[in-house]
C-alpha cells in the first residue's frame, strides 16, 4: 500500500476511534466531576496569573504540585508582610486545588488574622486608614472562607473556622453569624464536640436568644465531656439570667461541684470581659464566695486586671496602642469529676 494512502487510512481510523470516545468518555467525565474526583478545568485567568511554566505543569496533570509550590511562595510573602500577594497566591492555590480545604482555611487566616492585625498596629498609617485596612482584610478573609465553604459544602472545619472568625474578640463580633456557622458545622455530624459548645457560646452572646441558649446548654450538660470551665460558666449565667431569684453562691457551688472550684472557675470567666459573655450573677457569686472562703482582699479577683471589652473606636484612638493578645477559648480543660 502506498504511504500517503496508508497515512490517510490511519487518520480516518484515529478519527473514527476518537468519534466513538464521547459515548463513554463524556458520561465518565460527568460522573467524576459530580463525585468530586475531577476539579473544574483551569481557567484562562488562572493560567495567566500562574505564569507559563506553572501553567504548563498544571496542565500536565500536576495541579496539586503547583499549588504546593505556590504555598511555599505564599509563606515567603507572609513573612515579608506582602499581604496583597498572599491573597493573590491563595486565590491561585484554591483555583488549582479547590478541594484542599487547608488552603481555604490558611488563606482566610492570613487575611483576616495576620493581615488585619498587622494593619491594626501599623504605626506608619493614620488611625482612620488603619481601621479601614483592618476591617477590609477581615472582610476579605471572611469572604474567602465563605467561598471555600461554597466550594466544599459539608466541610465542618471550614464552617468552624468561619464561626471562630465571626466570634473572635478582636474582629467584627457577629455572634449570630458565628452561631449559624458553628451549628452548620456541628450538624454535619463529623465535627468534634467542641463545635457544638462553641455554637452555644455564640448563641449566649446573641441578645434575645438567651432562652434558646439555656435550653441548649442544659441539653449539652447531660454529656460530662462538655463540662469545661467556659461551658459551666455560661450555663451558670444563663440560669441566673432566666431566674434572678437564685442565690448565686450556692447555685455556683452546686453547678461547679464545690465553692472553691466555683470561685476559681468563675474568676477566670470574670476576667474574660473582652469576649462579651453575659455575666449575670457572676459578680454577686464571686463576692459571696470570697466571703464564704475568706479570700484576702489582695487576692480578690476584683483586684486583678480584666481583659476589657474594647471597641474598634478605642483601638484606633491613637497610634501608640499595641496589639493585645487575643484569648481563645481554653479547649481541653479536663471535665470536673462529679
Amino acid at each position: 500500500m502506498k504511504r500517503p494512502l496508508k497515512y490517510c487510512l490511519l487518520a480516518i481510523g484515529l478519527l473514527a476511534a476518537g468519534g466513538l470516545r464521547p459515548l463513554w468518555e463524556a458520561p465518565m467525565t460527568r460522573e467524576f466531576r459530580a463525585t468530586g474526583l475531577l476539579a473544574a478545568p483551569v481557567g484562562l485567568d488562572t493560567r495567566d496569573r500562574i505564569g507559563q511554566t506553572s501553567s504548563a505543569v498544571a496542565l500536565g496533570g500536576l495541579r496539586t504540585l503547583v499549588a504546593t509550590f505556590l504555598n511555599l511562595r505564599a509563606y515567603t510573602c507572609f513573612t515579608d508582610k506582602r499581604w496583597s500577594e498572599v491573597a493573590d497566591t491563595y486565590d491561585l492555590m484554591v483555583d488549582l486545588a479547590p478541594q484542599t480545604t487547608q488552603y481555604w482555611d490558611m488563606g482566610s487566616w492570613h487575611m483576616a488574622y495576620n493581615a488585619a492585625s498587622d494593619y491594626r498596629i501599623d504605626s506608619s498609617l493614620p488611625p482612620a486608614r488603619r481601621r479601614e485596612a483592618w476591617r477590609e482584610w477581615i472582610l476579605r478573609g471572611e469572604a474567602f472562607l465563605r467561598r471555600g465553604i461554597r466550594n466544599n459544602p459539608g466541610d465542618w472545619k471550614l464552617l468552624a473556622a468561619l464561626g471562630r472568625l465571626c466570634s473572635a474578640p478582636d474582629k467584627l463580633r457577629d455572634y449570630a453569624a458565628a452561631a449559624d456557622a458553628f451549628k452548620a458545622a456541628a450538624d454535619t455530624g463529623q465535627a468534634l464536640p467542641y463545635v457544638r459548645r462553641f455554637q452555644l457560646y455564640s448563641l449566649a452572646r446573641c441578645p434575645g436568644r438567651e432562652r434558646e441558649a439555656l435550653e441548649m446548654a442544659r441539653q449539652l450538660y447531660q454529656e460530662p465531656g462538655n463540662r469545661s470551665t467556659t461551658f459551666v460558666s455560661v450555663l451558670f449565667v444563663l440560669e441566673e439570667k432566666a431566674a434572678p431569684s437564685l442565690d448565686p453562691a450556692s447555685h455556683a457551688a452546686a453547678l461547679f461541684g464545690g465553692p472553691m472550684l466555683a470561685y476559681n472557675e468563675l474568676s477566670l470567666f470574670w476576667l474574660r470581659q473582652n469576649e462579651r459573655f453575659p455575666v449575670d450573677g457572676v459578680a454577686a457569686a464571686l463576692t459571696a464566695l470570697e466571703t464564704q472562703l475568706v479570700i484576702p482582699k489582695n487576692k480578690s479577683v476584683f483586684t486583678k486586671a480584666v481583659r476589657r471589652d474594647e471597641t474598634p473606636d478605642e483601638w484606633f484612638q491613637d497610634d501608640s496602642e499595641l496589639m493585645r493578645e487575643e484569648l481563645y477559648d481554653q479547649q481541653g480543660i479536663a471535665p470536673r469529676r462529679k
Binding site: 496508508k6 475531577l38 500536576l62 495541579r63
Partner: protein
C-alpha cells in the same frame, strides 16, 4: 519442527511477546534508569521537612499533621508523574531507532515473528519497567506515609487523652487522618499514573513508526501530552469565552487527541477523596481503549514498513 508449526503452538505468541518484552526491559534497565529512585527517595524524605507554620493551637484540634501527609502524597505522586511520563515517552521513542541502529530489528524480523508481536513486546517491555519503577516508588511513598501517619496518630492520641475526648471525637479525627494516609484510593492513583504513562508510551510508539528521528517522536509526544491535558479548556472550560470557531477547533482536537483530564483523579486522591472500584475500573477501560487504538495504529503503519 517447522517455523509454521511453531507459530501455531498455543501460547507461542505470548511467549514471543514476553521474550521481546524481557529484552526491551533489560535494554532499558541497562540505561541506569533506576538511579531515579535515589532522587525520588530524596524528594519523598525532603517533603517531610516542608512543615509550614499554620494556625495550630487549640482550634486545630490535632489536625495539624494532616497537611504534611498531603504534602508527601503531592510531592511523591508529582515525581512519579514526571518520571513515568518522561520515561514512557523517551524510552519508547528510543526503542525502534536503537533496534535499527543495533541491527537487532533485522535479526528479529528475519525470523517468523509477526510485526504486531514485536511492537507489543517492545511496548510491554517499557510498561514492565514503568511498573517496576512505580512499584518501588509506591512502596517508598507508602512506608513514608505510614511512618508519618503513625506519628500524627500518636500525637492525636496524646491530645485526646489529655483532653478526655469522647470516643466519637477520637474516631472523627482518626477517620480524617486515615483518609490522608496510605489508602487503596492512593494505590489507585498510582495505577492512574501508570495508566497515563502507558497511554503516552503507546502514543510515542505510534509516532515512532512513521517518524524519522527520536527527537521528533519525543517532542511530538510531549505536545500530544499537553494538548491532551488542555482539552477540558478547549471544549469550553469555566471561562465560557470561546468563540464558535474556537469551540469547533476544540471539538476536532478532542476527537484526534487523547483526553488526559480523566487521569487527574490523582489530585482528588491527594486531597483525601476516595476512588471507588467501579470508577477505577472505568479509568482502566479508558486507558485500555487508548492503548489498544494506538497499538493497532502502530501495527497498521509498521506492518509493511521496509528497513
Amino acid at each position: 519442527m517447522t517455523h509454521a508449526t511453531s507459530r501455531k503452538l498455543p501460547f507461542a505468541r505470548l511467549r514471543r511477546i514476553s521474550v521481546i518484552a524481557g529484552h526491551a526491559f533489560t535494554q532499558l534497565a541497562r540505561m541506569k534508569v533506576f538511579y531515579f529512585l535515589a532522587i525520588f527517595a530524596v524528594i519523598a524524605i525532603a517533603s517531610n521537612f516542608f512543615d509550614l507554620p499554620q494556625h495550630s493551637g487549640s482550634e486545630a484540634m490535632g489536625a495539624e499533621g494532616l497537611d504534611i501527609l498531603r504534602l508527601i502524597k503531592s510531592w511523591s505522586l508529582g515525581a512519579m508523574t514526571l518520571f513515568s511520563v518522561v520515561f514512557g515517552i523517551v524510552s519508547t521513542a528510543l526503542l525502534l531507532p536503537k533496534d535499527v541502529e543495533d541491527r537487532t530489528l533485522y535479526t528479529i524480523l528475519a525470523k517468523p515473528v509477526p510485526r504486531l508481536d514485536y511492537l507489543v513486546g517492545k511496548l510491554c517491555g517499557v510498561l514492565l519497567l514503568l511498573l517496576v519503577s512505580l512499584g518501588l516508588m509506591d512502596i517508598l511513598m507508602t512506608v513514608m506515609l505510614q511512618i508519618r501517619m503513625s506519628i500524627v496518630l500518636d500525637v492525636q492520641k496524646s491530645l485526646a487523652d489529655a483532653h478526655h475526648w469522647t470516643q466519637a471525637a477520637r474516631d472523627s479525627l482518626t477517620h480524617d487522618t486515615l483518609l490522608q494516609g496510605p489508602t487503596w484510593s492512593l494505590q489507585g492513583a498510582v495505577v492512574a499514573v501508570f495508566l497515563r504513562a502507558a497511554v503516552m508510551a503507546a502514543v510515542a510508539l505510534l509516532i515512532s513508526t512513521f517518524s524519522t528521528s527520536t527527537l521528533f517522536t519525543t517532542v511530538v509526544s510531549f505536545l500530544v501530552y499537553f494538548i491532551g491535558h488542555f482539552q477540558g479548556d478547549a471544549l469550553g472550560g469555566p471561562d465560557g469565552s470561546q468563540t464558535a470557531v474556537a469551540r469547533h477547533i476544540g471539538q476536532i482536537i478532542a476527537v484526534v487527541f487523547p483526553d488526559f483530564q480523566l487521569f487527574n483523579v490523582i489530585d482528588a486522591v491527594i486531597q483525601g477523596k476516595m476512588m471507588e472500584l467501579a470508577q477505577f475500573g472505568k479509568l482502566v477501560w479508558a486507558a485500555a481503549y487508548y492503548v489498544g487504538v494506538y497499538v493497532v495504529g502502530s501495527w497498521f503503519v509498521f506492518s509493511d514498513k521496509e528497513f
